[in-house]
Each structure stands twice: as structure tokens, then as C-alpha cells.
């Protein structure tokens, strides 16, 4: 290979959850500035993998390196955007303060009003284009707005790697498109390595640099056109599945989770299609 050192190097990782082998030989690398999709049917172990990268679970075999060093829990170089947050609508907290917690929320004590702190929060808000509602109470924001604040909260500590868990599952097409575009921008312009978890590849297809497909605890990584073929996915699943391309969308037929396109997402089109139809 001889190219740039990977930010994240997942080496043959095996993870047990309650004595069940959930991950058995996951391997892939992410370079700085790469936008990678972690795709797979429900129950394939996507969240387990994220938790392992975060250091919340320990692999039984194999290891994960971040910048060539074994990962540890609480690494500030990893930003994490979890799946869904539930916030009380009456919660007395502004978006700005919510984001600031990503900077120094782990420290004891009351934050001192420093200028550098304010500016970093302001920058993070600007980079996700959330300044318009930065002073609104967080509980009153829409799903898409809150998502952006969560990304800002993960970004404010200037991480080298951003883990984003299912950001698209609760969003409509418009917001999906915007979040994907935002993440792609952050990867390209800021050089942040991004690993995004999704059960549907299609809205992401044109934006991703790489796909890590997870099935039956194992992984297959590469460019989308390399990974998403009947041959390679059949090898991964261990039985024949067929990858079909229908109107610019990829559908995996024969996997345990046939509905790779969830029933409520019939309106999903690929990002390219969507860009064409936008006035």
C-alpha cells in the first residue's frame, strides 16, 4: 500500500455480546478525510462495532488502532453522534450550551466564560449551519436541527474521526440530503474521517468514498461498486444473494433483511436522482 497512514485501522475484530459472537473478523481502514458508510441489515452488528471503536466494548480477538495506537475509551479525538436523543421540550438549555458540552462536558466544575471557548462553539455551530437556532431551547428543535447540533457537539472538540450512528433514519428526504452533504463537506474540507452507520445505502451512494458492508458478523470493505456485487456479498453472507440495480438504486435480494429499502422509505431515491429533480 505505502499510502497515508490510516486514521482508523480495524484489524480482524471479534466481539462477544452475552456469550454470542456478534462480530467475527471485521477489518477495514479509514484514511483522513474519507467518508465511509457502514452498511448492513439490522442485527448485523453495526452498533456493536461502533461501541467497540468507542472503547465501550473490548474485542475478544483482534485490535483497533487509531493513529497507530490502540484505541481507549474517552478518546477526545473521536467524535460521536448517537442515534436518537430524547429531550424534554421544556428543558432549560440553549443549543449553544448543548454544543459546548462536547468541548469540556467531561470536566468537573462550572465552565468559566472564556472567549476562546465561546468562539470554538460559535465555529462548530457555523460549520453545521446551525447559528440561526443556536439560542433556541434545544427541546423545541426539529429532528434535523437537533441532528446538526449533535454533529456540532461532536465536532467542537476537533476530532480526527467522527462516528455517526443512523443519522438518516428519522429524517425526511430533504434533511437526509442536507445531512449527507454536510458530512461530505466536513470530510473533504476539514479532513475529518467519517464513519456513518446506515441500513440503507441508497441515499448515500454518490457521497461515499468507501463502503464497509457488515453481514453475519463479517465485513467487506471497498468502493461501492466493488462491494455491492452479487459475487462479493454472496461470499460475505455465505449463501447466494443478488445485488440488483433498479433505477439507480441498489437492492440486495435474498439477504435476511430483504427490505434494504425500508417500507416507509419508498420515496427514497439516490442522491443523484434527487439532485436532478431539485428545482
Amino acid at each position: 500500500m505505502g499510502e497515508a497512514k490510516p486514521v482508523l485501522d480495524v484489524r480482524d475484530v471479534h466481539v462477544h455480546l452475552q456469550r454470542r459472537l456478534v462480530l467475527s473478523g471485521v477489518r477495514f481502514q479509514i484514511q483522513a478525510g474519507e467518508f465511509v458508510g457502514l452498511i448492513g441489515p439490522n442485527g448485523a452488528g453495526k452498533t456493536t462495532l461502533l461501541k467497540t471503536i468507542l472503547g465501550l466494548l473490548t474485542p475478544a480477538q483482534g485490535q483497533i488502532l487509531m493513529d497507530n495506537r490502540p484505541i481507549r475509551r474517552g478518546n477526545p479525538a473521536i467524535g460521536y453522534v448517537p442515534q436518537k436523543v430524547h429531550l424534554d421540550p421544556d428543558i432549560p438549555l440553549r443549543g449553544r450550551d448543548f454544543v459546548a458540552l462536547g468541548l469540556d462536558g467531561v470536566r468537573w466544575g462550572v465552565p468559566l466564560p472564556r472567549r476562546s471557548r465561546r468562539e470554538r462553539v460559535q465555529q462548530a455551530l457555523a460549520s453545521v449551519r446551525a447559528l440561526a437556532y443556536a439560542d433556541a431551547p434545544v427541546g423545541r428543535l426539529s429532528g434535523g436541527e437537533l441532528q446538526r447540533l449533535q454533529i456540532a457537539q461532536a465536532l467542537v472538540g476537533e476530532p480526527r474521526l467522527l462516528l455517526v450512528d443512523e443519522p438518516l433514519s428519522n429524517l425526511d428526504i430533504r434533511n437526509t440530503h442536507e445531512v449527507v452533504r454536510l458530512l461530505r463537506y466536513l470530510a473533504r474540507e476539514r479532513g475529518v474521517a467519517i464513519l456513518l452507520v446506515a441500513h440503507d445505502l441508497n441515499p448515500l451512494l454518490s457521497a461515499l468514498d468507501k463502503v464497509v458492508y457488515l453481514a453475519r458478523g463479517r465485513s467487506m470493505a471497498g468502493r461501492a461498486d466493488e462491494v455491492m456485487t452479487s459475487e462479493s456479498l454472496s461470499r460475505l453472507y455465505g449463501y447466494p444473494v443478488e445485488v440488483m440495480r433498479v433505477q439507480g438504486r441498489i437492492v440486495v435480494v435474498g439477504s435476511p433483511d430483504v427490505h434494504v429499502v425500508p417500507p416507509d422509505a419508498t420515496a427514497y431515491t439516490s442522491l443523484q436522482d434527487w439532485e436532478v429533480t431539485t428545482p
Partner: protein, 286 residues
């Protein structure tokens, strides 16, 4: 002449003789002020974390502590402190996620039963029980003021220490855990925080109603502003007004402080609620 009469009455009512010269009223005012401020701080997290039931129960557990202290003839505050801290520890040790209400309820009932027994054993029915349940202003001694101030300082210190990680854990649990915030430790210390604040509120407003001071002002302030700092400042002001006015009215009338404090807190909530409705109604008509 008539005017003078009204003013005189008003002055007599607002500044009754002895209000500022009686040492115990001074004590009551100093304690009440500290209590209102600290209750606001802790109440912020009680509301944020949805721990109202726990905040309701701990003062009653403390009540059993005071009753126990009368049996053993030790200072009431010592009994209160012991029971509240013990209660806090028991609650946080036994409660798991989602089961907290059940554990709190059982501990509460047990403590109330014990308190009843202690009152009987200590032959302290009547006066003492009344003071414990509804608060007292006559009985606050000089040393007690010192104790309240000390507990207030400790509580404020603990609150300030916990502030950031506890807020992080409360509003973004997954991120906080990933960043190594220690959930178990923080949850335990949070319960201790409630226990400590109850040690201060019970002697002033009484076990039955001290909960209102924790929840009321913050909830009212949340109606007006949802900026953390503004909420705290406004709630602090509302709490102070309630306590100061309640002490005055209790002195005037001889009725319990707890009654007045709670009534004023509810009135504040009602007035703000109606005022806000009226304002938003007018602006939406435009």
C-alpha cells in the same frame, strides 16, 4: 388622617414590632435566604433529571431522622443529616435504571413508619412534630444558623463540582458515556446533593412542603426563559421572594411558614402562567 391610619396598619403589617430585633427572626431570615438559593441550584437538576419523586421523598426520610434524634437526645440536625445521607445512599445503591420510583416509595414508607415510632418513643408529639412537618421559625438557634450555612456551602460546592459532567450526562447520555463520564458516581452524588439540600429546607419550611421549594421556582422560571443561567437567576429570585414573604406572613399571623411558602410558590407559578398566556395571546392576534 385616614390615610395615615392605613399606612400605619400597613407598616405594622410589613414591619411588625420585633421582626428585625428578635434574634430568631434574624436567624430565620438568614437560613431562609440560604435555603432558597441552594434549593434553586439543586432544583435545576431535579427538574432536568426528572427526579421529583426522590426530591419529594428525601425530606420525609429526614423527618424520621429528626424524630429519631429526639429519642436519642442528640441535635435534630445531626439526626436529619444522618438519615438523609443514609437515605440517599440506600436509594442510589438499590435503584437501578427504571426501578428508582419503586425503591424510593418503599424507602419513604419505611422511613415514615420509623418516624412515627420515634415520635411516640420520644414523647415528642405536639409541638415538635408540628414544627418538623410544617417548619418553624421560632426555634432556629444561633448555632443552627451556623450549621445551615455550613451545609449550604458544602452543597453549593458539590453542586458546582458536579455541574458540567452531570449536565452532560443528563442531556447527552450516550456521548457522555463515550467520553468517559462516570455515570454511577455522578448519580450517587446527585442523590447526596438532594439529601443535603433537604437537611437545610426541612427546619425552615418543614418536611411536608420542603419539596415545593426545590421544584416550584425552577418550574415557574422555565415558563419564562430556557437559558440555563437566566432560569437559575429568575428561579432564585422567585424562591427568595417566596421565603422572605412567607417568613413575614408567618410572623404576622402565627400560621406555619410551609403553608405560606407553598402558597406563594403556587401563586407565582399561576401568575406567570396566566401572564405568559395573555402575552402570547395578544401577540398572536396581531
Amino acid at each position: 388622617m385616614r390615610m395615615m391610619g392605613v399606612l400605619d396598619t400597613l407598616c405594622l403589617w410589613l414591619l411588625p414590632p420585633g421582626l428585625l430585633t428578635t434574634p430568631y427572626m434574624w436567624h430565620a431570615y438568614v437560613c431562609g435566604t440560604v435555603v432558597a438559593v441552594v434549593a434553586t441550584l439543586v432544583g435545576y437538576f431535579v427538574v432536568l433529571r426528572g427526579a421529583a419523586f426522590m426530591a419529594h421523598s428525601l425530606p420525609k426520610i429526614g423527618f424520621a431522622g429528626i424524630a429519631g434524634a429526639t429519642v436519642l437526645q442528640i441535635p435534630p440536625l445531626a439526626g436529619l443529616l444522618t438519615f438523609n445521607l443514609l437515605g440517599s445512599l440506600v436509594l442510589s445503591a438499590l435503584s437501578r435504571r427504571g426501578k428508582r420510583d419503586v425503591v424510593t416509595a418503599l424507602t419513604l414508607v419505611l422511613a415514615l413508619g420509623a418516624g412515627e415510632l420515634f415520635l411516640t418513643l420520644g414523647h415528642a408529639y405536639g409541638e415538635t412534630a408540628y414544627a418538623l412537618l410544617f417548619g418553624q421559625i421560632v426555634g432556629i438557634s444561633g448555632p443552627q444558623v451556623g450549621q445551615t450555612l455550613t451545609v449550604g456551602l458544602v452543597t453549593t460546592g458539590l453542586w458546582m463540582t458536579l455541574y458540567r459532567p452531570l449536565l452532560f450526562l443528563t442531556v447527552a447520555r450516550d456521548q457522555a458515556l463515550a467520553r468517559r463520564v462516570r455515570e454511577r458516581l455522578l448519580e450517587n452524588l446527585f442523590v447526596v446533593l438532594i439529601g443535603l439540600v433537604c437537611v437545610m429546607t426541612v427546619p425552615v419550611v418543614g418536611a411536608l412542603l420542603s419539596f415545593s421549594l426545590l421544584i416550584g421556582p425552577i418550574t415557574t422560571a422555565c415558563l419564562v426563559t430556557r437559558r440555563g443561567l437566566h432560569t437559575l437567576l429568575l428561579a432564585g429570585a422567585l424562591g427568595l421572594v417566596a421565603v422572605w414573604l412567607a417568613l413575614l406572613l408567618a410572623y404576622d399571623s402565627g400560621w406555619p411558614v410551609g403553608f405560606f411558602a407553598t402558597t406563594i410558590i403556587i401563586l407565582e407559578y399561576g401568575m406567570v402562567h396566566i401572564g405568559r398566556k395573555a402575552i402570547s395571546g395578544r401577540s398572536s392576534k396581531k
